[in-house]
């Protein structure tokens, strides 16, 4: 995932993999893994703060969606051209036009309020981050479990498929694909089809990473006694898969998902930055940053708040994910 974003895939991929290895092995009597994890998580102040921040952001994003699209209370596209220098096209006043009315400043040329736009853009960024993660986790888990459980040629086929996916320069593909799909596809309204395509493309290209992890986990779980026991009692494959294996995969899936969400938010931002994001006048943080990149020499303030929005969100998810991983696997601390 991070691969296309030029971060190390290691940071998000191998690390949980390594960390998750021992997960579930160590059971302390009397309390379930979930209870222990929750106890540990509660003690991790940073993780809890991040969790609260995420919750606040999610609520804010929903509120933004309602205010913007359902009730139309806020108008992220309102112009304030009177605050823009007509010759230079940049906001008058210092710090990119920051004022009481416009605490985050204004966008060049049209003078739209950045605070409102960042707020209104939050739901799209988060929605894409969450939904794309859901897509890749669902595909990745199904493929990983099937490959790990059935092994043999099924495993070979799926593993090779993952190899093929991993061998693609993903970002290029995503760009090309998003560009190809017509706007009016799926009969969704304003922004709808583009959001849908972004979710699909990001999610679809990310599944092999989680697929590999789940496959490895399944392979090792499969050898454990309880699976043998279940099978020796005559349980059929679906039963073993869903009743025995899946519950034991919840922890790694949960941790990986938490760490995948920020990666996908970054992926969306990258696609938007490269110009295949949401259609104007709607904006995500990535498209705003993309526009800011045209202005950074004369209005460097434009990039600050969209950049911070991405940074803080991604950081919060990463911190929470780290905390969750530590909570679920004490050995990783």
């Amino acid at each position: 995932m991070t691969a296309p974003l030029e971060a190390s895939p290691g940071s998000s991929e191998a690390q949980p993999e390594a960390a998750l290895k021992g997960m579930g092995k160590k059971a302390i009597q009397g309390r379930s893994l979930g209870q222990i994890a929750w106890m540990r998580l509660k003690r991790d102040r940073v993780a809890m703060a991040s969790g609260v921040l995420i919750a606040v952001m999610v609520v804010a994003a929903i509120v933004a969606l309602l205010l913007d699209r359902v009730f139309g209370v806020i108008n992220p596209n309102a112009f304030h051209q009177e605050l823009i220098d007509p010759e230079q096209g940049i906001p008058t006043g210092p710090l990119g036009g920051i004022s009481l009315d416009h605490p985050f400043g204004l966008e060049p040329i049209n003078g739209r309020d950045l605070l409102t736009r960042i707020f209104a853009g939050s739901w799209i960024s988060l929605l894409i981050g969450f939904a794309a993660t859901l897509v890749s986790v669902v595909i990745g888990t199904i493929m990983g479990v099937i490959a790990g459980y059935f092994r043999g040629w099924v495993d070979t086929v799926i593993s090779r498929l993952m190899d093929v996916f991993l061998a693609f320069p993903l970002l290029l593909f995503a760009i090309a694909l998003v560009g190809v799909v017509p706007d009016s596809a799926f009969g969704l309204g304003r922004d709808g089809s583009r959001i849908f395509v972004l979710i699909f493309v990001i999610g679809f290209f990310s599944w092999p990473y989680i697929g590999r992890i789940i496959r490895a986990q399944t392979l090792s779980l499969r050898e454990r006694e309880f699976v043998d026991a279940s099978r020796s009692l005559g349980a059929r494959a679906p039963h073993v898969l869903f009743k025995e294996l899946l519950p034991n995969l919840v922890a790694p899936i949960l941790v990986y998902s938490t760490l995948l969400i920020p990666t996908n938010i970054l992926f969306e931002a990258a696609l938007s930055f490269l110009g295949v994001g949401i259609q104007p006048p709607s904006a995500t943080w990535g498209t705003m940053l993309s526009e800011a990149s045209r202005w950074y020499q004369v209005d460097a303030w434009f990039m600050v708040f969209p950049g911070l929005a991405i940074f803080i969100t991604v950081l919060a998810f990463n911190l929470f994910g780290d905390g969750l991983r530590d909570a679920l696997d004490p050995r990783a601390r």
């Binding site: 302390i28 540990r40 003690r43 004490p330």
Partner: protein, 359 residues
């Protein structure tokens, strides 16, 4: 308690009252506590024993009884900051608990060495066996690589590895389990240590190899006149080997005595349990092994009174004493100490009527 500890300290392995100052290793009131999120884990909680050169001490107990933690404490292998160690570990007059890490390090490998239980994980997979022995030798001896290599080949030969000059360049994974353990021993003995700690040296091995390895340790001990501690959960292993045996439970010693005494007249119900769960070839086969019921206690919340009381069949014989008061570690016969509330008669009675016949 105090009294008996003094006694014990004064004693050597074989004869506790004899030549008090010559004990090579003295451990006094050793406590090793690990602070964790869930509370303090008292892995070792007041342990006292001593050992002379040329003697062998067997430490026996279930997993989690504090055997390995004790040995690692002696070796100074607990990471500072993670473990709170108090008490004294005196090796040849030097207190290792208060010594600097550097002083302890210089002793490790040279004066005291350790054989670990799982040689596959205990040896570095990326370096050849020879390389690892050479390294151990060269830390303490300022010799050239070729000299050290010759020494390594000699050591491998000595622990009975065929074609040592060839196998010296093999990697651990290319050795069989028994051979690996021999290599491990060769590594531990490469600097002629005066104290050798063998932590479950034969656990992963099959019975014939087990015997060979144990014989090897005995032979080498004779050659080097080392003091040896053998840690095991299996009384059978130490039966022939050890001069003295210490039985540990929940971070404490519950019975200490000469090997002969422990096997002939064990006094502690826990020791009875251990004996009961041990298959023996030298007796008639009884119907079945008698496992100790229950599980080892949490080391965070050690049961009040006698730590063994929840699992002890005889805990009720002295009213609620077992659940309220910690039993004193006392000498019940010369060189034989136990921590149990049962009276001598009760123990005698139970042993002869209930326990012994079933073994």
């Amino acid at each position: 308690m105090k009294h008996s500890q003094e006694d014990l300290l004064a004693g050597g392995a074989a004869r506790p009252s004899d030549r008090p100052n010559e004990a090579f290793l003295q451990v006094r009131d050793l406590k090793v506590h690990f602070p964790t999120d869930d509370g303090i884990v008292k892995s070792v909680d007041g342990l006292t024993f001593s050992l002379q050169r040329g003697k062998t001490l067997g430490i026996v107990g279930e997993s989690g009884s504090g055997k390995s933690v004790t040995s690692l404490s002696i070796m100074g292998l607990h990471k500072r900051g993670t473990a709170n160690i108090s008490g004294e570990i005196v090796l040849d007059g030097q207190n290792l608990v208060t010594a600097t890490p550097e002083q302890v390090r210089s002793l490790r490998g040279k004066r005291m060495a350790m054989i670990f239980q799982d040689p596959l994980t205990a040896m570095h997979p990326y370096y050849t066996v020879g390389n690892q022995i050479i390294e151990a030798y060269r830390v303490h001896h300022n010799v050239s690589k070729s000299v050290a290599r010759k020494h390594a080949v000699e050591m491998l030969d000595r622990v009975g590895i065929p074609q040592p000059d060839k196998r010296v360049d093999d990697y651990p994974h290319q050795f069989s389990g028994g051979m690996r353990q021999r290599a491990m021993i060769a590594m531990a003995l490469s600097c002629d240590p005066e104290l050798l700690i063998a932590d479950e040296p034969t656990t992963a091995l099959d019975v014939t190899v087990q015997a060979q390895i144990l014989d090897l340790i005995v032979d080498l001990q004779k050659d080097f006149n080392s003091a040896v501690i053998i840690i095991t959960h299996d009384l059978g292993v130490v039966a022939e080997l050890a001069d003295d045996i210490m039985v540990m439970y929940a971070g404490r010693s519950v019975e200490y005595g000469s090997s002969r005494e422990i096997f002939a007249a064990p006094q502690h119900p826990y020791t009875w349990g251990l004996l009961g769960s041990m298959p023996r070839l030298d007796r008639e086969r009884s119907e079945r092994l008698l496992p100790i019921k229950g599980t080892p206690p949490s080391l965070i919340n050690v049961p009040e009174g006698c730590p063994f009381n929840p699992r002890c069949a005889f805990a009720g014989l002295n009213g609620d004493l077992s659940t309220t008061e910690r039993p004193e570690f006392r000498e019940v016969s010369p060189g034989h100490h136990i921590a149990c509330h049962l009276s001598g008669e009760q123990r005698q009675h139970l042993w002869t009527t209930e326990i012994k016949p079933k073994l």
